[in-house]
Symmetry: C2
Subunit: 412 residues, 2 copies
Amino acid sequence: MDITTLGTRAQAASRVLATATTAQKNEALNAMADELLAASAAIGEANAQDVSAARDAGTAESLLDRLTLTETRLQGMADGLRALADLADPVGQIVRGWVNPNGVAVRQIRVPFGVIGIIYEARPNVTADAGGICLKSGNACLLRGSSSALRTNRQTITALRAGLEKAGLPADAVQLVEGPREATHELMTARGLVDVLIPRGGAGLIQTVVENSTVPVIETGTGNCHLYVDSAADLDMATTILLNAKTDRPSVCNTAETVLVHADVAAQFWARAASELAAAGVTVHADERTRALVPDAVAATEDDFVAEWLSLDLSAKVVDDIDSALEHVRQYSTGHSETIVTHDLVASERWCAEVDAAAVLVNASSRFVDGGEFGFGAEIGISTQKLHARGPMGLAEMTSTKYLVVGSGQIR
Amino acid sequence: MDITTLGTRAQAASRVLATATTAQKNEALNAMADELLAASAAIGEANAQDVSAARDAGTAESLLDRLTLTETRLQGMADGLRALADLADPVGQIVRGWVNPNGVAVRQIRVPFGVIGIIYEARPNVTADAGGICLKSGNACLLRGSSSALRTNRQTITALRAGLEKAGLPADAVQLVEGPREATHELMTARGLVDVLIPRGGAGLIQTVVENSTVPVIETGTGNCHLYVDSAADLDMATTILLNAKTDRPSVCNTAETVLVHADVAAQFWARAASELAAAGVTVHADERTRALVPDAVAATEDDFVAEWLSLDLSAKVVDDIDSALEHVRQYSTGHSETIVTHDLVASERWCAEVDAAAVLVNASSRFVDGGEFGFGAEIGISTQKLHARGPMGLAEMTSTKYLVVGSGQIR
């Protein structure tokens, strides 16, 4: 089906969703979860074919793992849909309201965007997650998954659509965009049919979408996150936070990628941190001054400070003062999450005021920058752009607003 | 100067603005107003040259009027800057905040975007208005005005920059983008240097910016605004509102362009409204059923229902029910402001729920959809897109947010 047909169907579905009650949407989410589990054999078989084809095509093991839908993962997808049913519905929430002196009442209320396009890479769980989040926020979605997961996505979407129909909502609220590469381009330029595009995947995918879309895009970002150990830091705390931020889950975007250590405390800090990082399997890529303190460290290249490692690698540098740390962050940060460890109030305030990022942290692990940790319940991604949404995006960030202006005959 | 140089200077200025106090910014706004008035002779002379050159080039009178800066208009620009000083500063406002169960405190605060690019057409007052709004919201701006206003804009910006310097803020907070057409393209693709682009002008300009920008764009929109006279309308009220919405200021985007009248009340409504509209100089472009009731009406073409007249022209149609009215609006609306006049609660609620627009009005003139009328004090435009801001954009809409996450050593 071409994008015009898909988009027109999605728009029609979105009009129904926009005025659907929360109870109807919740019923659909639970029915979608039921249908997913009921279809587990079909989905599993499709997934086995996808994985086998990918293996034959020489796909790397780590990517094969991402592509694989185990029973646990399918159960997780169903649980995720049910959890969405338990969250508050953002649609209809009053953002602000007032009465003008002439008696005209103005309310700004949350409304769905309409149709959301999501372009994503191999992980097939995104299909259910994104479909569910869009539904709960009242949006129809066009899902463009990876061709390597096509069979899995088809079966998954068939199940989700069956759930929607059981709950009396239009199946076209969730549609898969199939077809060759050109289909992605058509989706990116479907102005008037698609209200927002959200790419989910690596830096390359996001770059492509941003550069080629005429539909407004929300960037979910890459994270080259820094941790700055100030001269006034509690060094035990700094070590604990760094270990957590680096090793708790190295493959995600809120993980620490570079540590900057104030020269006054560098020797003392590395005396303990080097061995703890080594014990955790972390390879340190360091500048000269750090290498003098960490004999095992590898010499860092310029690229290492640019890198979003997403692995047990860590760039390290000694800085002379907080100004140098701020300057380094300004130069290399992707604007995701930037942390200072310090007991100095002035340093903490400067960090909060001067660092330009979605999240700025003081004495806490950047692993907290997450929709779940923020209490949003569900998350479509973490925005590193400044327009519309910045940081973890929950259900409220999946909505627009409109003004209701109610009078009794007033004119200007 | 090329965009890279301009953008780099703007970024440096934006870092100073981001942490400037409200008092500093207000001092600068007042100094900018002083300098504008002090430079009135130079600005007036430059403007006379621009107007003369435009006249020689055969520019239409209406456009020459837009280009002309009278003393009253210059005074208005200065007054506008001083009025901005009186408005609340959005920067630093806490949007929401909470403490997680583990004691980590999270605050979402308003921060400037950084660098805003504004691409606009002939009106030279935009130079001061946009420069002032950007400054108050903590943003540096790159202003790309029309080449026909180049001399005027140069002198205006020289005055604004002098005011900034007098208040101890960087002059590069306001810069003019000169040069040939390619400069506009460079501005639209200056990702990483420019955070947001706001086009201000006609539909053609906005379309060009949307299609060619890789920088995120906020569309300020065109308004094909409808007024639906329901069968349960107070017809006197409907006539009064229509006259106001059509004739109060026909050249602006929140003016009514099409009236849809329920068949049951069409004869009665037009019996009075036709003569009042005619007396106000309005030409009615009507469908067959309306023409049977309004002998003076011109036959409407399909294009007339698409048109944003911005003049004393009005399209008119008889509809059989609210569903037909909603369908017409769905097909032709630009999503700006859509009005129902009715005393029927169900009709009013359906209109509010089903119309997809920045503002949905009941029994009030669409002329109220305006930053000033909403109490925002200043307005950079009215957004008709759904991302980030929708409807009148005040100072708060000129900001992004960031999360401050403060702990005492917590890890995940």
